[in-house]
C-alpha cells in the first residue's frame, strides 16, 4: 500500500487534482481492452517530460513499479498495473508540439490521439498512416508501445515504419533523445527497438513521426462471397499475384450480420464473407488494380464486386469494419479479441481450423481481420460472470494461437504480448533467446521497475519480477 505521506509527495510534484489514490478512482484504471485486470495503487497525470522524470525518480526511491498508460484501449494488458504501483497516465500530455509540412514530420506528446495528427494536417494534403481501429481514441504513446497496426498498414507499414525520433525517460529518471528527425542516423536503430517494446524499456515522452501525402484517388471495393473458403482463397491469390491494395479486410457472414444490426453499413446479410479492399494511388494505377482484383474475385466465385459509389458509402463500409467490436458487444456480455498472424497462403486452412475449434469448444467465434497481411482477429464471445466460461474462452484462444505458430506464424501481429500471451512466448523463443532479450531489457530497465510482468514468461528470463498482487477476481457489472 502507498501511505498518505507518499501520496502527498506525488501531489507535491504535480497537484492534488492530478493524483488518484481512492479505490473508486483507481477502479477505472484496472482495465484496458483485454480480458485481464490489474489495479494500480496510484494514478498520476504528468504534464511535462520534466514531471515524468521527477515522478519516476520518486517512484524509484520507494521501489514502486511504474506503468505508462495512454487511452487504455490496448488488447493485451500492456497498460495494466500487473503488480500495482504507480500508473503514469498521459491524457494531459496531448499537445502537437510541431508540424513540419515541408519535410512531412510531426512532433507530438504521447497523449495525442492517433487520429488528431491526421486532423491537424489533412487540410495540407497529409495524414498519419497507421490506423488502428481505435484510432479515434487510442494515443500515439500506446501505439509506440505496442507497434500498432491497422487496415492500411498492408501498404504503408506499421507504427515502427513511421517513427523517426523519440524522447525517453529511463527508469532512473534520465531523459534521452534517440533517433533523428530525418530518420537515418548511423549506429544502432534504437527507435526500431523501442517501438513495440511494450513499455518495458522506457517511458516515451515525445515522438516525431513521418506524415504521408494523401493519395490522388481512392477506390473501395466490396467483394461478396457465398463461401468462406472462396473469400480466403481470393486473398491468398491477390497476394500471390502481387496485387498490392492499400487495405484488404475480411468479415465473415456471422460477424457482418452483427454489424448490420448495429451500424447498417450495407453489407449483404446473406453472404458467407465479404472482402473490403481499398486501392489508393494515381488514378491510372488504381484503374489497373481494380480490374485485376475484379478478375481474381470473380474467378473465385464472388457473387458480386461492389464499388463504393462515393465518399459517403466508403465511409459507411469502413464504419462497419471499425465498429465491429462494438457491434459484437451487443451480442454477449464480453468478447475476447484474438490476434494471430500466419503466412498469407495459409489463410483458407487456418479459417477452417478456427471453425473446428469454435465448434469443439461450443463458442461462437467471429472473424473480422486484416486478411491481406495474414493478421487474424478471431473474436470469442463469452460470459465473464461464469469463470469457467472465460477459462474455456482462453483455452480455445490458445489453441488457435498454437495453430498459427504451427503453420509458420507468430503469437501476435499487432496487439502485443503484454500479460495476455507472455506464458506462450516459449512456443517461439528458446532459453538463449530469452536470456538475450532479458539482457536487452536490463540495459534499459535493470530493476524491472517499468511495466513488470509483461512480455516475458514469469518463470523465465524475468526472475526478479516483483509480483505483489494477483489479478482481481471481482467483476464490475
Amino acid at each position: 500500500m502507498i501511505d498518505q505521506a507518499l501520496v502527498s509527495a506525488f501531489e507535491k510534484l504535480t497537484s492534488p487534482a492530478r493524483v488518484f489514490s481512492r479505490p473508486e478512482d483507481l477502479l477505472l484504471y484496472e482495465y484496458d481492452g483485454s480480458v485481464d485486470k490489474g489495479r494500480p495503487d496510484l494514478v498520476v497525470f504528468p504534464e511535462s517530460t520534466a514531471e515524468v522524470s521527477e515522478l519516476v525518480k520518486l517512484a524509484a526511491r520507494h521501489n514502486l513499479p511504474i506503468v505508462g498508460r495512454g487511452a487504455g484501449t490496448g488488447l493485451s494488458g500492456g497498460a495494466l498495473a500487473r503488480t500495482g504501483g504507480v500508473m503514469l497516465a498521459f491524457p494531459h500530455m496531448n499537445k502537437i508540439l510541431a508540424i513540419d509540412l515541408e519535410n512531412q514530420r510531426a512532433t507530438v506528446q504521447p497523449g495525442v490521439v492517433n487520429f488528431d495528427i491526421t486532423r491537424a494536417v489533412e487540410h495540407d494534403g497529409l495524414y498519419y498512416a497507421p490506423d488502428p481501429s481505435s484510432q479515434k481514441s487510442c494515443t500515439i504513446g500506446g501505439n509506440i508501445a505496442e507497434n500498432a497496426g491497422g487496415p492500411h498498414t498492408l501498404a504503408y507499414g506499421v507504427t515502427s515504419n513511421h517513427v523517426v525520433a523519440l524522447e525517453l525517460v529511463l527508469p532512473d529518471g534520465e531523459i534521452v533523445r534517440i533517433g533523428s528527425a530525418h530518420g537515418d542516423a548511423p549506429g544502432y536503430d534504437l527507435c526500431g527497438l523501442l517501438v513495440g517494446s511494450e513499455g518495458t524499456l522506457a517511458l516515451v515522452t515525445e515522438i516525431t513521426v513521418k506524415l504521408s501525402r494523401q493519395p490522388e484517388a481512392v477506390k473501395t471495393l466490396l467483394a461478396v462471397f457465398d463461401d468462406l473458403d472462396d473469400a480466403s482463397r481470393t486473398v491468398a491469390e491477390i497476394t500471390a499475384r502481387a496485387i498490392t491494395p492499400a487495405a484488404c479486410e475480411m468479415i465473415d457472414g456471422w460477424t457482418l450480420n452483427a454489424i448490420e444490426d448495429y451500424v447498417h453499413a450495407g453489407f449483404p446479410r446473406d453472404s458467407a464473407a465479404v472482402l473490403l479492399i481499398e486501392l489508393e494511388g494515381l488514378t491510372e494505377a488504381i484503374a489497373a488494380q481494380s480490374t485485376a482484383i475484379n478478375e481474381v474475385c470473380l474467378a473465385h466465385h464472388a457473387r458480386e464486386v461492389r464499388i463504393a459509389r462515393d465518399a459517403r458509402e466508403r465511409e459507411l463500409f469502413w464504419k462497419g469494419r471499425k465498429n465491429a467490436f462494438g457491434a459484437l458487444g451487443r451480442l454477449a456480455p464480453s468478447n475476447y479479441v484474438l490476434d494471430g498472424v500466419i503466412p498469407r497462403s495459409k489463410l483458407p486452412q487456418t479459417l477452417r481450423r478456427i471453425a473446428e475449434i469454435a465448434k469443439a469448444y461450443g463458442f461462437q467465434i467471429g472473424n473480422i481481420f486484416h486478411a491481406g497481411d495474414g493478421n487474424l482477429h478471431p473474436i470469442v464471445l463469452y460470459d465473464p460472470r461464469d469463470p469457467s466460461h472465460l477459462e474455456r474462452a482462453i483455452a480455445a484462444s490458445n489453441e488457435i494461437i498454437r495453430y498459427c505458430i504451427e503453420v509458420g506464424g507468430a503469437l501476435t501481429g499487432e496487439h502485443g504480448i503484454g500479460m495476455e500471451k507472455n506464458e506462450l512466448m516459449p512456443l517461439i523463443f528458446s532459453d538463449d533467446d530469452f536470456a538475450l532479450m532479458r539482457r536487452v531489457h536490463d540495459a534499459f530497465n535493470p530493476d524491472s521497475a517499468l511495466n513488470p510482468g509483461k512480455m516475458f514468461p514469469l518463470n523465465k528470463g524475468c526472475g526478479e519480477i516483483r509480483v505483489r498482487s494477483q489479478l482481481y477476481t471481482s467483476v464490475i457489472s
Partner: protein, 500 residues
C-alpha cells in the same frame, strides 16, 4: 606468422577441426581490416559451427570480425583487436522461399545473385541494389547498413527485414522476428543488426518480405543549372501526387565519372555510350518510375510539365528496354564502387538530413571542399541523403583547379582532375591533414545543421585523425549498454563502431 597467431590458429583448429581454419599469410592478407591482419580465418558450414567458434573466442577472449565477401570491410573505425576473421560464406542456402507469401529466408553468406535469380523467376525482388551488391552476401549487405536509391519508395532494410538468426557475443544462437510480414512478438532485435558491422552478433540467417517486380519501368532525367534548381524540382515532385521509385541528384562531376568509366558490361550487345546525351556542367535529377504503361505515361507527362516549370535545360526519357537507361541507373547505383575504383583514397561522407535542408547543405559542403582545394563529387537522394566524396588533390592542385572565388556552388565547385591523372589512385599521405581538416569542418557543419554524418569510406590513415562516426551523440550511452548486452566481453568487431 607470429607465435601468438600460430597459437590462435592451432587452438582454433583443435577446437573446431582443421578443415574450417585457414592461417596462410597470403589468405590472411585478404581479410585485413584497416591494414590489420587476423591470426586465423574460420570458415564454418553451419550456424551451429558459428556458435561454436564464437564460444571458443568467448572462452579464449579472442576478437572476431565476421565477414562475407569482404566488399565493405572498409566501413568503420580500425578494430582495437582482431584475432579471427569469421567468414560466413559457407552458410549459403535459401532456407525457405514462399513466393505465394512474398517472404524469403536466406543464410547470411548467400551471395545476393544466388537468391535474386529465384526471386526474379517468380517476378519478385528485394530492393537492396546497394553498392557492390553483385559481389556481396546478404549478411554483409545488412551488417554494413548500406542503402540504395530504392529506399525512396521501398524504404531501407529496417522496413522489410522481418526476422533474423544470429550468434551473440556469448556464443548463443538466438533469433528475433519471424517469417510473417506483420509481427510484434518480442523485441525487434533484428533491426539492431542493420548497420551494426558485426558488433552485436554474427548474422547467420535473414528473413525478408519480397516485392513484386514492376510491370514496366522507365527513367526520366532532368538537367538543371544548379543543385538548388534541381532540388526545387524535387520539392515540386514531393508535393505532387507522384510517388516515383527513386529520385537521385548527380553533380556534374559524377556524371563525368560515369562517362569516363570503362564500358559497362550490363548490356549485351553493349549499349550506346552516354556521351553527348546530357548537357555538360549541369546537375542531373534522375527519376525512376514504374507501373503499368498508362501509369508510366502519366509520370512522364507530369514530370515533363514540372521540369519545364522549374527551368530544366534538358529532359531525357529512357524507355523500358532502353539499355542506355539501364547503364545510367547501374552507374548511379554503383557510384561508390566506381569512385573507389577511380580514386581508392576517396573520402566519402554519408550525410542524412531533412529533404528541405539539402540545398543549403550541398552549398556549404561545396564551400568547404572548395576552400580546401579538394575535388569533390556529390550524389544526393531526394529523401534526404547526400553522399559527398572528397578526392585527394593532385600535386599542385591549386594550379589545376580554379581559384575558390571563381567557383559558385551552383556550378558544382572544383572540377574533377582528369581520370588518368597519376595522383588519383596514388597514395597521398600529404593530403591526410588537409582531409582531416575538411572532415572536421563537415562534421561541424552537420552538427550545426542537426544532420547526421559519417565517413563510410576513407583512407585508413585518416581514421587515426578523425572518428568516422563523428562526435558522440546523446544516445551513445544507450548504444554502449546494448553492445554490452549482446557482447558482454567485447569480442565482436571491437571498436569498429563504438570505442569501449
Amino acid at each position: 606468422m607470429t607465435v601468438s597467431s600460430f597459437n590462435v590458429a592451432a587452438r582454433l583448429q583443435s577446437a573446431i577441426g582443421a578443415d574450417h581454419v585457414i592461417a596462410e599469410p597470403a589468405s590472411l592478407a585478404q581479410y585485413a581490416v584497416d591494414e590489420i591482419l587476423p591470426s586465423a580465418i574460420a570458415k564454418p558450414d553451419s550456424a551451429h559451427e558459428v556458435a561454436e567458434i564464437v564460444r571458443f573466442a568467448f572462452t579464449e577472449n579472442l576478437a572476431i570480425i565476421p565477414c562475407g565477401n569482404r566488399t565493405k570491410l572498409a566501413i568503420g573505425m580500425p578494430p582495437s583487436r582482431y584475432d579471427i576473421a569469421l567468414d560466413i560464406t559457407g552458410l549459403n542456402k535459401i532456407a525457405h522461399y514462399d513466393p505465394a507469401d512474398l517472404t524469403i529466408s536466406v543464410d547470411a553468406g548467400t551471395p545476393f545473385n544466388d537468391f535474386a535469380v529465384p526471386l526474379y523467376k517468380q517476378k519478385q525482388f528485394l530492393p537492396l541494389s546497394v553498392p557492390f551488391y553483385y559481389l556481396s552476401t546478404i549478411g554483409g549487405i545488412i551488417a554494413s547498413g548500406v542503402d540504395s536509391a530504392l529506399r525512396h519508395s521501398y524504404g531501407t532494410a529496417r522496413d522489410f527485414l522481418i526476422g533474423a538468426e544470429f550468434v551473440n557475443g556469448s556464443g548463443a544462437l538466438t533469433k528475433s522476428g519471424g517469417r510473417v510480414v506483420k509481427n510484434v512478438t518480442g523485441y525487434d532485435l533484428h533491426k539492431l543488426l542493420i548497420g551494426s558491422l558485426g558488433t552485436l552478433g554474427v548474422i547467420t540467417r535473414l528473413n525478408f518480405r519480397t516485392f513484386p517486380m514492376p510491370i514496366e519501368s522507365r527513367g526520366f532525367v532532368a538537367s538543371l543549372a544548379s543543385a538548388e534548381a534541381a532540388l526545387e524540382l524535387c520539392h515540386a515532385i514531393a508535393h505532387s501526387p507522384l510517388t516515383p521509385t527513386s529520385i537521385e541528384l548527380l553533380s556534374p562531376q559524377l556524371l563525368q565519372l560515369f562517362l569516363d568509366s570503362p564500358e559497362s558490361d550490363v548490356s549485351d550487345p553493349p549499349s550506346l555510350p552516354l556521351t553527348g546525351v546530357f548537357p555538360e556542367n549541369s546537375w542531373h535529377l534522375c527519376v525512376s518510375i514504374e507501373g503499368t504503361p498508362e501509369v508510366c505515361d502519366r509520370y512522364v507527362r507530369d514530370l515533363t510539365h514540372l521540369s519545364q516549370q522549374t527551368a530544366a535545360t534538358n529532359i531525357h526519357v529512357f524507355g523500358s528496354n532502353d539499355s542506355q537507361g539501364a547503364d545510367l541507373w547501374n552507374y548511379i547505383g554503383q557510384s561508390i564502387p566506381l569512385l573507389l575504383e577511380t580514386s581508392p583514397q576517396a573520402t566519402i561522407f554519408k550525410i542524412s538530413h531533412l529533404p528541405g535542408r539539402l540545398a543549403t547543405l550541398i552549398a556549404e559542403l561545396t564551400t568547404i571542399a572548395t576552400q580546401s582545394s579538394l575535388p569533390h563529387v556529390t550524389l544526393a537522394r531526394a529523401s534526404g541523403i547526400i553522399y559527398f566524396a572528397l578526392l585527394p588533390a593532385s600535386n599542385g592542385a591549386a594550379d589545376v583547379l580554379p581559384a575558390a572565388d571563381d567557383v559558385s556552388p551552383s556550378a558544382g565547385g572544383a572540377a574533377l582532375p582528369a581520370a588518368d591523372h597519376a595522383s588519383l589512385g596514388g597514395d597521398n599521405a600529404a593530403n591526410i591533414p588537409l582531409l582531416a581538416q575538411a572532415s572536421a569542418a563537415i562534421f561541424q557543419l552537420c552538427s550545426r545543421e542537426s544532420a547526421s554524418a559519417s565517413i563510410p569510406w576513407c583512407p585508413t590513415a585518416l581514421k587515426h585523425l578523425v572518428n568516422v562516426w563523428g562526435a558522440p551523440r546523446p544516445d551513445s550511452a544507450l548504444m554502449h549498454r546494448l553492445k554490452s548486452a549482446f557482447d558482454p566481453q567485447n569480442i565482436l568487431a571491437p571498436s569498429r563502431f563504438l570505442t569501449l
